[in-house]
Symmetry: C2
Subunit: 271 residues, 2 copies
């Protein structure tokens, strides 16, 4: 493995959700090749324990390392929340999660110092956003809530109408928001429900999606390590999945905002 | 392994849902010991391919065989739909799925020969219920629909109120029912939503849940093979899970209708 400027950016997620992050990376760094792995045979991670998510994350990273990658983006909030220390300890390349960039973007966006974060049960229970927000701005008031039904709604394509409206009201209504002016969408599926969520929380609340902030962080890391690709050349896009590709290609196009060229099924040897 | 009358009944499911089947088995066969395996590290199966579900099912069965079981109940509709032939080919003990008993119960229940079945995308796409219903009564008219949001609703505990009501109306309203008088709940999670579903389809439609029919089928199989336990003795209940047990114990109590004594975490070496 060379890990040089010509190597690709590796990206993994539990499934299709991380394609919203990949999309931001491709827009911000159009010269860079990418290898995306969706662990569709074990999706979702958000309802599983930190121990199991860490094990799966290490297996994903090992599979991506076989593709000569120079940096790894963990495009899954749950994996970023629980597996980043293990990944950083075991990998010879820089590892970028989505949580610290998302928390920093929220700290920049808030004017009244009150921020809410929503995510999967795994992400919220880990306390990783709460810690990252506290690190970004120690005096911040943080509200956090798990919204497990948002993922299946987004995957089912029910992103408008009465059902997502009622679900969003149930999760985000009442006193939960408590005067926050910023809401972090702490799961890569949630941007698909942004319109419904914005309607429920009202126009005064800024929604923060960590995809763009993560792309900016990657730009910085590549620059610091002198790993940015400098000249134009053939840009490769690889998509790997652990289940059969059909559903990934179908649902993934909605997340990436364009059709996917194809995906290769691989086996991960995990316990 | 003895596989004798004293051996236990092995039961597996992708997670907690199969506890509704275990409950029916424990009620019908109170003298029999049971070993239940919930593959909580890979749950759910319903949105995954037949290839992956078969691989996971074989690993579950191998783990249960280490417990001296005399019969295997596949308490997961999706696994019953796609993995039964592979399990029957590889195991030295009888294997009982939930689909054929459920289809036979529906064939007995219908008066007008029109039956609907609902289940996960994997179960419905497999055509297994449609085939089993046709085998039970060749002239039957069968309607089938995948209802993927019912599983996360049941796991979230949202089994009454406006959200499950609207979701049920969206899946079961319109022309889908088409005059059927029997509706098969082709997923072990759906009995938790039975009240909402009954309200939407109306009192004239009989709901069929395959748990009891599967328990009756197991009684027959044990009798035919002379494997029924005859005398009273210590009855053992083992619960195995592949993720950490906390969530399984919490959600599982709702499915089993009583607290679980504890669960042991095991590793399955699957790809």
């Amino acid at each position: 493995m060379r890990h040089g400027r010509h190597a690709a950016i590796g990206v993994f997620d539990s499934g299709v959700g991380g394609l919203t992050v990949l999309k931001a990376l491709m827009e911000r760094l159009p010269l860079e090749s990418t290898v995306y792995l969706g662990d569709t045979a074990r999706v979702p991670y958000g309802t599983k324990s930190g121990e199991v998510v860490t094990r799966y994350s290490l297996a994903n990273a090992q599979a991506l390392l076989e593709y000569d990658i120079k940096a790894l983006v963990v495009a899954c909030n749950t994996a970023s929340a629980v597996a980043l220390p293990a990944l950083e300890a075991q990998l010879p390349i820089p590892v970028i999660g989505v949580i610290v960039p998302g928390a920093q973007a929220a700290a920049k966006a808030t004017r009244n110092g009150k921020v809410a974060v929503i995510g999967t049960p795994g992400t919220i229970a880990s306390g990783a956003y709460q810690a990252a927000l506290a690190a970004a701005a120690p005096s911040m008031e943080v509200h956090a809530r798990a919204c497990p039904l948002f993922v299946p709604l987004a995957e089912e394509g029910w992103t408008e109408g009465a059902v997502p409206q009622l679900v969003a009201e149930k999760y985000l209504g009442g006193d939960f928001l408590g005067g926050v002016d910023t809401l972090v969408l702490g799961c890569t599926h949630y941007p698909l429900l942004a319109q419904i969520i914005q309607g429920v929380v009202g126009p005064k609340v800024t929604l923060v999606d960590s995809a763009k902030a993560t792309a900016e962080r990657l730009v910085e890391v590549l620059r610091e390590r002198e790993l940015t690709r400098l000249e134009r050349g053939a840009v490769e896009r690889h998509y790997l999945v652990t289940d059969t590709p059909a559903r990934f290609l179908e649902v993934g196009a909605r997340f990436l905002g364009r059709p996917l060229s194809g995906a290769r099924q691989i086996d991960l040897h995990v316990k």
